[in-house]
């Protein structure tokens, strides 16, 4: 079946059977459906319950962020990047600020880099908690959602106290951080680490060995390591298939080289392995947080950056390990105060392309599980 013409080349047109005689059914999992993740339309070609092919229609959340970038200055564009992956806004800001700093040839001071790492790892915990809650909800377990959101609430309180907003944080500025850490920040972060580790054990008790969970996720949506690399999938999707690639270790940025942590790898590349990889990532994030929060160095929090930013003409691609995968910024500057082009490489967009391969031959109920395990946020996919 040719993949490019989804609606044509179906069985009934090839063999001359009428629509009523063929076994195929085209079903629309429309832009509004109760499995969260945003407005994604998936058109399924089914044979009874078996999925023969899928076609994703995206763009329902397209806001033209990259075009907006061409009409704003570098500093003014900073708040817009939070709104792409709105679940984990801090990483977006980190990627953008670091990309512009590379373009300017400026390095953020040590203290700023530690603060950035702390906030980014808290943000990774928050994003994985949302992922776990919504993924479990799609598969039918109603309660982990509420437990995850309760624990996430503490992280959002820390964000609120630090930068003033819970979701669209606008935490970092080009050259460093705007805000000095508040009184009690280190203690609160370390307290949160102690608070959340038993909670992660609780999530595992509810799900990891539960036979229903294992049956729903083991062997479902298998993606081998080679296929991942071919498709460009990154993040826990890649690591769940056994490829040991994490940008925090491979191309360290923002003080990650100073901390000790492990990269969890999966074996089979199925949904269950990706689940285990993300749970272990949460634990490693707590490890990094403990090391970082107890040893923030003194110093300035922002580097000397001119008031009106005019980077030299040139282009740069900088990517970071966002909770969902490799988030990259490609910025082309033409020497003026506004960028010529900002292109964002969203991890969810690239990972979503793997949906078709993962779901062929499985049942309709698995489509929902696979969309959940890819951890997509439509704000990122559509920008």
């Amino acid at each position: 079946m040719s993949e490019s013409k989804f609606y044509e080349n179906t069985e009934w047109q090839e063999t001359g059977k009428t629509f009523l005689d063929s076994n195929e059914l085209i079903l629309n999992m429309g832009p509004q459906h109760p499995s969260t993740h945003g407005v994604l339309r998936v058109i399924l070609k089914l044979d009874g319950e078996k999925v023969l092919g899928t076609d994703c229609v995206i763009g329902y959340l397209h806001r033209g962020v990259e075009k907006i970038a061409e009409n704003r200055t570098y500093v003014q564009f900073n708040p817009y990047v939070d709104r792409m992956d709105y679940v984990a806004a801090v990483s977006n800001g980190l990627g953008y600020c670091e990309a512009v700093e590379k373009l300017l040839g400026v390095e953020a001071p040590e203290r700023a880099r530690y603060i950035r790492v702390i906030l980014t790892e808290l943000n990774r915990l928050a994003s994985h908690q949302v992922w776990l809650g919504t993924h479990a909800l799609d598969i039918g377990a109603l309660t982990p959602l509420f437990y995850c959101f309760r624990d996430r609430e503490e992280i959002l309180k820390i964000f609120e106290k630090y930068c003033g907003a819970r979701l669209t944080t606008h935490a970092f500025r080009i050259g460093g951080c705007q805000y000095e850490i508040y009184e009690g920040f280190q203690k609160e972060v370390l307290d949160y680490c102690d608070f959340v580790l038993p909670k992660i054990d609780e999530y595992e008790e509810l799900l990891t060995t539960n036979r229903i969970w294992v049956e729903r996720t083991k062997g479902v949506g298998v993606l081998s390591g080679a296929e991942c690399i071919e498709l460009g999938a990154t993040g826990p999707v890649l690591r769940g298939s056994g490829v040991k690639w994490d940008l925090r270790k491979a191309q360290p940025y923002a003080a990650y080289s100073k901390f000790e942590f492990d990269i969890p790898i999966g074996k089979n590349g199925d949904t269950y392995d990706r689940y285990l990889v993300r749970i272990e990532e949460m634990r490693q994030s707590v490890r990094i947080l403990r090391q970082a929060a107890s040893s923030i160095p003194e110093g300035p929090i922002t580097a000397k950056v001119p008031k009106v930013l005019r980077p030299p003409a040139g282009e740069i691609y900088h990517s970071i390990e966002a909770p969902k995968g490799e988030l990259g910024y490609f910025i082309v500057s033409d020497g003026s105060t506004q960028p010529y082009r900002v292109r964002v490489r969203p991890p969810s967009f690239v990972n979503l392309q793997a949906l078709d391969k993962m779901v062929r031959g499985w049942l309709v109920a698995d489509v929902v599980a696979v969309i959940g395990t890819l951890d997509i946020v439509l704000g990122e996919v559509d920008r």
Binding site: L25, L27, M29, H33, P34, S35, E49, A136, L137, D138, I139, G140, A141, L142, T143, L145, F146, Y147, R150, L206, L207, N210, I212, W213, E215, R216, L363, V364, A365, D366, V367, V368
Partner: protein, 425 residues
Amino acid sequence: MHVLTDYLRSNVTPGEAGDLLWATIYVLLVVAALSVAVMLMTWLERKILAHIQIRYGPMRVGPHGLLQPIADSLKLLLKEDIIPAGADKLVFWLAPVAVVMTAFTTFLVVPFGRTHAVTDINIGILFMLGISSLSVLSIIMGGWASNSHYPLMGALRSSAQMVSYEVPMAMAIVSAILMTSLKTGTGTLSMIRIVESQAVQGRWFIFSFFPLGFLAFVIFGIAMIAETNRAPFDLPEAESELVAGFHTEYSGFRWSLFFLAEYAGMLAVSSIAVTLWLGGWLRPFSNALAGKTWDLAFSLLPALTVFALAGICFLGAVRMPKHPSFKIQTVGLAVFGLFLGAVGLVLLAPQVRERVQDMYWFSVKVAFFMYLYIWYRGTFPRYRFDQLMKIGWKVLLPLSLAVLILTALVGIRQELATVLMGVLR
């Protein structure tokens, strides 16, 4: 007047006594009690599920949401009656009616006490199983009449699931029925005689031939959840799946009839489980803790339970927020607590105490099963449809057959041993 009061002194159900008036009264009472029980269940489900999910549940409509079921039923009654275009009007109208009829008819033989059943047919359990199989037909009718492929797929899935889990259910029931013939020499299918044989043998069937009785109970416990389409077997009516179930196109009162039938079905299968394995209306520890004082102590329990509920109401009224807009809720809750206290006082009277005991124990056991339903819904993810069918046919059916055969063998051995002892003596 004599006609009315004469019956009160009898010790058989009105159906057996041939008393038409009291039978009608009992039928009306059963229907009313069922509706109230379903409304209570909706409130309980929302509250308990909310507490499992560390939130409050309904709190606004009445004190702690107690008037929420009334608000829900009013809303459903007043909603617009939408019939999809091209739907088969007669079948569309008939499906919810049929479902409710089958669900309520099963309650004709459910014994709340020795005399507290509408009637006692001597094929009681077979009657209940047969009528609940009829509900499968009405689900298919509902899915077909909606003229839309989502409800049709949901109805077919739902009916396939219910039919496949009826087999292990029936096997488990048969292995319990086998045990009714142990001491008395004749087995029985009548619901009341099953409980009486548990009384005669001095042991609830869940403990007979340990672990066989317990295994049969567990098999029935799993099959009954699948039979009523509840978590973790609720794929046909889950919201996050593609198909929203056979009752998608029904709105308003018709949907509330499906809902009523679902909860009535849950109550019906729980009643079967309670009657067959948990001793029906018998009080626990009737052998170990026998004697007049223990009887007295246990007979005080209904009143004590109602007093405890009244105490909780007063506690809730005391802990209400002191804001002026909560005054009416506080007062309402306190009045409800007073009413419950009055009911408890009535339950302390000796004549009432004896008659109420068996209903109380039956209700407590069925309530435990309802709590289990809600607890499972809050904890477990749901099975995919092929895994669900695999469990029904490949795991539960062989297991229930094995339990049945083993029960039969052990029972024969025991009977032979008794006969031999009798001969030798």
